[in-house]
Structure formats: structure tokens, C-alpha cells
């Protein structure tokens, strides 16, 4: 059984170890290069400990005035999500997902006891987590962080992932779908994050209620509390044990928490093409919106601290992509570019949903009624456009308000929102590209993602890699004018919008003419 699970998980486990290892070591190396003197580390420590925003986001790191502390602080936000996610995905994939698909039933018909798949999933998860921790420890030690601290830090992160693996394994026994396992685990993670933030800001025992707090309180670069590792390990073992107990006792295919009954009739809104399109796109739209708001809210809240930090350490402004002009404008422009990438990702993904509708046969069903192709596509295009505008406007507003709160001045609100809106034509070019590919050859939809990857690469790294201007011009974001640092280039925006309109028209015309379904 262990071999089967190991086989199923091998690829994703390797990817996890590689991605996590690379992101920590990358962070560590760039920090070691950036803060190469004790004085610079001291400046950083003072910058991040004044005010509460960074403490709430990255956590309150003990021993912040050492290289390890700086790394722990910088990696804090990423680690707070990536490591629990590692545990959750390892816990859920080999258990409920297999059961839901019916593959588990096939295995249990063989000489395998009911609890063995869960046990094997937990063992594989533990092995993957140990491998990740080992990569972390070695990576940190190589960067020049004290070995003992590195090992404790790596173990505390591993224990964090282990707690969530146990949680996911238990939830997999309780819920009916792998989807619900992810949903509930992520809710627990979000709650842990908030509780840890509250505890750190108020400097009370509340931090000890959160799994993220346990990792933090191990204080690998401060007091080094080794015993704090016992809490997550014990709780992870407890959750895993409960999962095993449930797995050996319950019926296969059953679940304690079942989805409740839903409405027996569809509302008039849901029956309309637009209403149904809204319900199809809603989850993804909310997800991308949450991402946008998280990004802009965080950046906005940090504005004042960042301005202070930049004043003390000019190298920092280059590290976050601000090249010239007023630091405040540079900061907003960089954030808006990030937001544009998020928004463009949303439109490509949302139009990709149409391909899924077609490949899974739902489009055929829809078009066998009185709904014409153009109305169906128009309804979806409108809803995606609405989602895009919502994401851009809401995130820009959040950025404006958070910035205003941080610097205590609302003067930036207008320019921030208008620079967000200035990116709309560029985002629509991506939407047009995706729609044209969907209309012409849905099978080649990967090209839309390739276009997105090229745009992201040029937008983020183009200027710092000093690429040729014609390469930079390939990305629609280049033509926006980098507001509010530069002026919005109205003429270029009109041309960009026209290109988007042409691409959309091509998509509609091609969709009208082609056979349905095409996988």
C-alpha cells in the first residue's frame, strides 16, 4: 500500500520539495546578499518592528537582529501558506480524492485493510515533509545561518506542515469530497493566520492557540525553545490517529459531514444565460478577487514602513522593483503592475472555463435549446468582463484606502484607482487572445497561457534584465505608461483596446462557425 501511495504522490511530492526548497533558499540567498553587514540588518530590524502591519503579516520574529531572523521574517508570509498547503495536499490527495474517484474501492477489494491507505498517505506525507525540512536546514546552513538555528527552524516548519497533514487526513474521513477537505483545511489555516496575527500584535498568549504560532514560538534564532516542537507533532499525531481510527471503523464511501440538501427549483435569475454564467464564474472570480485584495491591502498597509525603509536603505527600493521617481509613486506603480498580472490571470482562467464547459459536454446540452451560440458566448464574455472590472476596481480601492490609512493622507486615492483602470485595455488584450483561441482552436488553449506567461515575464523582469525595446513592446502592459510614475498614455490605450476588440470579434466569429464540441 505504501508503495502505491508513494507512486501516486511521487511527482507532486518532488515538485513540492523542489519548489519549497528553491523558494526558501532563494529568499535566504538574496537576503544574505542584500543585508551583508550587521548595520544593514539592524536597520531592517528597526524598520520591521516599528508599527504593527509587518508583525501582523510576517509574524513576530524573535532574534530579528540576526541573518536567520531576517530570513525567517521575510519568508514568514510565504511559509505560513506554503507549508500548511504542502501538508493539506499530501493529506487529501491520497485519501479522499482516491475514495471519491472509486479507485480506493478497487484497492480495498484486495488484501488491504481499510486503515492502510490513510496510514500510507500519512507516512508518505511525513517522508516528504522530512525531505523538505532537510533541504531547508542544509540550504540555510550553506547560506551562512548558524547550524543549530537552521535545524530548529526547518523542523518547526516541518512540524507545521505535519499538523496540517494530520488535519487533512482527518477531514478526509469526515467529508465526502476532496474539495471539502481543501475548503475546511484552508478555513482552519486562515483562522490560524488571523489568530497568530492578533496574538503577535497584542503580544499575548493568543499566539499559542495557532499552529503558525507554535512554529514561531520555537524561536530558532532567539531563545530556541526545542520543546515547542512537541506541540505540533503531538497534535499532528493525534489528528492522524483519529483519522486512522475513523478509517478502520466507517463504511467506505461514507462521510460524517454531508452536503445539505439544496433548492429544488432554480431561481429566475439562474435560468437566464447571464445568471448561469455568473454562478459558473463566481467561485473563481471571488478567489482572484481575494488574491487581488490581499496583495493590495498588504502593500497599501506597508506603504509608510516601506517609505521609511527605503529612506534608510536605497538597495531595498531596487529589490521591490522601484527604479525612479517619487518612492510612493514607484511603490503604487509596482503594486498596480502586480495587480494587472493577477487580473490578466483571471481573464485567461475564466475563459478557459468555457473550454471545460465544452469538453465536459455541458455546452452541447446548452446549445441544444433555444439559446444561440452568440448569446451564450456573449453572456459569458459579459460576466468575465464584469468580474475583471470588479477585481480591478475593488483591489485598487483597497490599495488606495490602505495607503491612505498607512500614510494618513487620502490624496493618493484618485491617482491609484485611475492607474488601476488604465491597465484594463491591456488585460482585455489577454481576454481577447484567450477568446480568439477558444473560438478558433480550443485544443490550443495552452497558447493563451503561454501568452500570459510571456506578458508576466516581460512585465516583471523585462526592465531589470534590460531587454530590447521591441521585446518589451510585445507585452500590452508596457504600453500603459507605468502610472502613476509615468503619465497614462491615452493614445496607446486606445490602440490596445482596439486590438482587444478585434481579437474578441475574431473569437465570436470563429465560434459561430466551428463544430461543437471540440475537446
Amino acid at each position: 500500500m505504501l508503495r502505491i501511495v508513494a507512486r501516486i504522490q511521487r511527482r507532486s511530492a518532488l515538485v513540492w520539495v523542489a519548489v519549497l526548497g528553491a523558494s526558501l533558499i532563494g529568499t535566504a540567498a538574496s537576503i544574505a546578499a542584500l543585508y551583508d553587514t550587521p548595520a544593514k540588518i539592524q536597520t531592517y530590524a528597526t524598520a520591521v518592528t516599528t508599527g504593527n502591519a509587518l508583525v501582523a503579516i510576517n509574524g513576530k520574529v524573535e532574534g530579528i537582529d540576526s541573518l536567520g531572523g531576517v530570513i525567517q521574517d521575510e519568508f514568514g508570509f510565504l511559509a505560513a501558506f506554503l507549508l500548511p498547503l504542502l501538508g493539506i495536499s499530501l493529506g487529501a490527495r491520497a485519501t479522499r480524492r482516491e475514495e471519491e474517484s472509486g479507485r480506493l474501492e478497487l484497492l480495498l477489494a484486495g488484501r488491504i485493510a481499510r486503515h492502510e491507505p490513510t496510514l500510507a498517505a500519512l507516512l508518505v506525507a511525513t517522508a516528504t515533509i522530512c525531505a523538505t525540512a532537510a533541504v531547508f536546514a542544509v540550504g540555510l546552513a550553506v547560506t551562512g545561518v548558524p547550524v543549530v538555528g537552521s535545524v530548529l527552524y526547518a523542523l518547526s516548519l516541518g512540524a507545521l506542515a505535519f499538523t496540517f497533514a494530520g488535519l487533512a487526513a482527518l477531514l478526509a474521513q469526515l467529508t465526502l469530497h476532496a474539495r471539502s477537505v481543501y475548503t475546511w483545511s484552508l478555513i482552519v489555516l486562515a483562522a490560524s493566520y488571523v489568530v497568530r496575527g492578533v496574538g503577535d500584535v497584542t503580544q499575548t498568549w493568543v499566539t499559542w492557540l495557532s499552529p503558525l504560532g507554535w512554529a514561531e514560538k520555537a524561536a530558532p534564532f532567539g531563545d530556541q525553545r526545542w520543546w515547542a516542537l512537541a506541540i505540533p507533532v503531538a497534535i499532528g499525531l493525534g489528528l492522524g490517529g483519529a483519522a486512522l481510527r475513523l478509517a478502520s471503523r466507517r463504511d467506505v464511501g461514507s462521510a460524517l459531514l454531508r452536503g445539505g440538501a439544496g433548492p429544488a427549483r432554480a431561481s429566475a435569475r439562474l435560468r437566464s444565460p447571464i445568471g448561469l454564467a455568473v454562478s459558473i464564474h463566481r467561485p473563481a472570480t471571488l478567489g482572484w478577487l481575494a488574491g487581488g485584495i490581499l496583495l493590495t491591502g498588504m502593500m497599501g498597509a506597508l506603504t509608510q514602513q516601506l517609505l521609511d525603509a527605503v529612506a534608510g536603505n536605497p538597495a531595498l527600493s531596487e529589490a521591490v522593483g522601484i527604479v525612479a521617481g517619487r518612492p510612493m509613486d514607484g511603490f503604487v506603480a509596482a503594486t498596480q503592475l502586480y495587480l494587472a498580472i493577477i487580473a490578466a490571470g483571471y481573464v485567461v482562467q475564466a475563459i478557459g472555463t468555457l473550454r471545460a464547459e465544452e469538453a465536459e459536454g455541458r455546452l452541447e446540452m446548452r446549445l441544444s435549446g433555444t439559446l444561440s451560440r452568440s448569446r451564450w458566448l456573449a453572456a459569458h464574455a459579459l460576466v468575465v468582463l464584469g468580474g475583471l472590472v470588479t477585481i480591478v476596481v475593488c483591489s485598487s480601492l483597497v490599495l488606495g484606502l490602505a495607503t491612505a490609512l498607512s500614510v494618513g493622507d487620502t490624496a493618493e486615492l484618485g491617482p491609484i484607482v485611475s492607474s488601476g483602470l488604465a491597465y484594463l485595455p491591456a488585460e482585455l488584450v489577454l481576454a481577447g487572445l484567450a477568446l480568439a483561441i477558444y473560438g478558433l482552436r480550443p485544443r490550443l488553449f495552452g497558447l493563451a497561457w503561454a501568452g500570459y506567461a510571456v506578458m508576466t515575464f516581460i512585465a516583471f523582469l523585462g526592465p531589470s534584465l534590460k531587454l530590447h525595446q521591441w521585446v518589451l513592446n510585445l507585452s500590452p502592459t508596457t504600453h500603459v505608461g507605468n502610472p502613476p510614475v509615468g503619465a497614462i498614455e491615452t493614445g496607446a490605450l486606445i490602440v490596445t483596446a482596439a486590438i482587444a476588440v478585434i481579437l474578441v470579434a475574431v473569437g465570436f466569429a470563429a465560434f459561430q462557425r466551428r463544430g461543437v464540441p471540440q475537446g
Binding site: H177, G262, L270, R271, R362, R366, L371
Partner: protein
């Protein structure tokens, strides 16, 4: 358009996917008020034909007419008069069955609310359950109820009963008969013989994108021979060599004579006389089942890949003995499109069916 004008008509329909010829000159006529069985093995082109008829795909050449109009150009308008159940029913996983019913209903011409409620009861569907939690059979029921509740003149059903249990299959057959009594035309694509035999007025059998034969069940049966199984007190005199008798087998069992053979319909009367003289104990005369018609039309080794395999697995169902027995002793003027390959194919099929 008069009442007798066909609801569906295709002439020489071809459809190419790249170099693959999915339809190769397919002719199909569905007349108003009939249940038309559309038979063929997997990959014969049934679903492609239906998609062309629904205007979802454009034919490479040939004509397709739905209600006398071109479905490619007029799809939404024509669709207000029909309801469709796809072979592989896909619904929105996050919605409930009831919500899906209403969404599908909203795109049909109109829904009879009373019939909807009645059908939910007949098919024992829980409309408050999420589609994600439904089994395949339950998803199929949602699509069927939506189609049967629609105020449609034509039902287009593409293998509609896959995933239904026998009880629900019965309910489905009753519903189809009710709808036909209301004057609704049904195009029923299937590879389940029993279902088509129980429901269809006329049948078209297709293979590799081409219509092999078409007609009422009686017409199709005219070229085939009933199977006789008789238990008699004495050995029937001269049965084995009698005119019109083939595949004769007989054996003694518990003091009786057990004879099995097929007979040409024209000679049935004379043969029954001989059996009567021998003292009939039990007698069964089985008309050729659709299975045999089907097997007969797929008995072509050139259709090697899918055709014989599909046919033989179906034949194992209920009439395999007949199918095997009937295979070699049949009239040579069979409606097969490729007579030269007819006989060897039958032999291989007969083997497969055993």
C-alpha cells in the same frame, strides 16, 4: 409542410474530422409521430449524425433537414420544437438536480409543470441533491426528465438509458410510449436491442457512417427466419431434409425428441404439419430478434475493429443461441452494403457469440 413530411431527413450526409470519415453518405428519414430506432455500434457515427441534426456541427457534404429547415443556420429557432438528451450527460456539479432541470427547461420551448412533477416521482429523483453527489444514473434521469417534461414535438435521445437500472428502464419505456401517444416523434439512438425492439416503430441501422438498412421491424424481419424448438413424442418424419429447413439439430431426451431448426416463413405451415404428426409436446417459434438483424448487418470482417466486438457482446444478452444458429443459413439478398464479405463475417460472429 404537410403532416407527412419527414421531421428529420438526411441525404448522403458526410462528415470528415481531419482525415477520419465519421459519416460517409448517411441517409435517415424520421416521419412524424414515430419512434425511430437508430442503431449502430460504438463509433458508427450516431452521435455525430445527431450533432449535425442539432446544428452543433456542420456536415462536410450532403443535406440535413430538421422540420424541413437547415439546422446549421436555424438552430435556436428549430430547437424550440425539440428536446435532446446527450449520450454522456454532464451537469453543473455545484447545482442541485432541480436547478439543472429548470435551467435545461428554460432553454427548451416550454415545460409542462405537471408532467415535470409526475416524472420526478416516476423516476424517483431527489431534486434537492447536488449534482456532485449524484450517481451516473441519477444524472441521466435529470436529463431525461428535462427532455420528457418539455413541450417538444421531437425528442432526440442519444443512448438515453446508459446507467439506468432495469426498473428505471421500464419507467423510461412507459414514458416514451406516453409521449408517442401524445403525438411526439422520437429519434432513439441506442445499441440496446431490447429497448429498440420494445419501442421503435421503424429502425435504421448504420455502420461506419453509412445507413446499412432501414425499415419497420416487420420489414426487416421479412428476410430472416424464425427459430423453431419442438419437443415431440416421435422423431418427426423427414424434417432434416424438408424444404425450407436449415440448421436442423435433434436429440433424444427422456423419451422425447428434441428438435431445433430455423425455417423459411413460407414453409412454416408444412413443417408444423410434420411436427403435429409426430405428436407435439412443447413448441416454441421465435421470430428473429433485432439482435440477429443487427449481427447480420455487422457480419463484415472489414468492419473488424469495433463492429464484431460490439455485436457479439450484445448478442450474449438474450438471443445468442438464435444469433449463432441463424448466422450461416440465411437468404443471400441481405441488405448488407457489402455482400462479398457477408458470409465469412457471419462465421466469425457465430464463433464470437458462442
Amino acid at each position: 409542410m404537410t403532416d407527412t413530411a419527414p421531421i428529420v431527413r438526411t441525404e448522403g450526409l458526410t462528415k470528415l474530422f481531419g482525415t477520419v470519415r465519421a459519416l460517409d453518405g448517411l441517409d435517415l428519414i424520421v416521419r412524424p409521430g414515430e419512434v425511430h430506432g437508430f442503431l449502430g455500434p460504438n463509433g458508427a457515427g450516431k452521435s455525430t449524425t445527431i450533432r449535425v441534426l442539432l446544428g452543433l456541427m456542420k456536415a462536410t457534404s450532403g443535406r440535413a433537414e430538421l422540420f424541413g429547415a437547415d439546422p446549421w443556420h436555424d438552430a435556436p429557432r428549430l430547437h424550440s420544437r425539440l428536446a435532446y438528451v446527450a449520450g454522456d450527460v454532464a451537469l453543473w456539479p455545484g447545482l442541485t438536480g432541480g436547478q439543472c432541470l429548470d435551467i435545461l427547461g428554460a432553454t427548451h420551448g416550454g415545460v409542462d409543470e405537471r408532467r415535470r412533477a409526475d416524472l420526478i416521482e416516476r423516476f424517483e429523483l431527489d431534486p434537492t441533491k447536488r449534482v456532485r453527489d449524484y450517481s451516473k444514473g441519477n444524472r441521466q434521469k435529470v436529463a431525461l426528465i428535462a427532455a420528457l417534461a418539455a413541450d417538444a414535438e421531437l425528442l432526440v435521445l442519444d443512448e438515453p438509458t446508459s446507467g439506468l437500472d432495469p426498473l428505471m428502464e421500464q419507467a423510461f419505456q412507459r414514458c416514451i410510449r406516453d409521449r408517442r401517444d401524445d403525438g411526439v416523434t422520437v429519434l432513439l439512438s441506442s445499441h440496446i436491442m431490447g429497448e429498440v425492439e420494445a419501442l421503435a416503430d421503424r429502425v435504421s441501422i448504420i455502420r461506419r457512417g453509412r445507413t446499412v438498412t432501414s425499415g419497420t421491424l416487420a420489414e426487416l424481419r421479412r428476410h430472416t427466419r424464425p427459430t423453431v424448438h419442438a419437443v415431440t413424442a416421435l422423431e418427426p418424419a423427414g424434417l432434416a431434409g424438408a424444404e425450407g429447413v436449415a440448421q436442423h439439430q435433434s436429440q433424444r431426451q427422456d423419451g422425447h425428441v428434441d428438435s431445433r431448426f430455423t425455417v423459411d416463413p413460407d414453409h412454416l405451415d408444412a413443417i408444423l404439419g410434420r411436427l403435429h404428426t409426430a405428436g407435439i409436446h412443447t413448441l416454441t417459434v421465435t421470430p428473429p430478434s433485432l439482435d440477429e438483424l443487427f449481427l447480420r448487418n455487422y457480419g463484415d470482417p472489414l468492419g473488424s475493429g469495433a463492429a464484431p466486438g460490439a455485436a457479439s457482446s450484445d448478442a450474449r444478452g438474450d438471443a445468442s443461441g438464435n444469433a449463432a444458429g441463424d448466422a450461416s443459413g440465411r437468404a443471400p439478398e441481405g441488405a448488407s452494403g457489402d455482400p462479398s464479405g457477408d458470409v465469412p463475417g457471419d462465421e466469425s460472429l457465430a464463433e464470437a457469440a458462442r
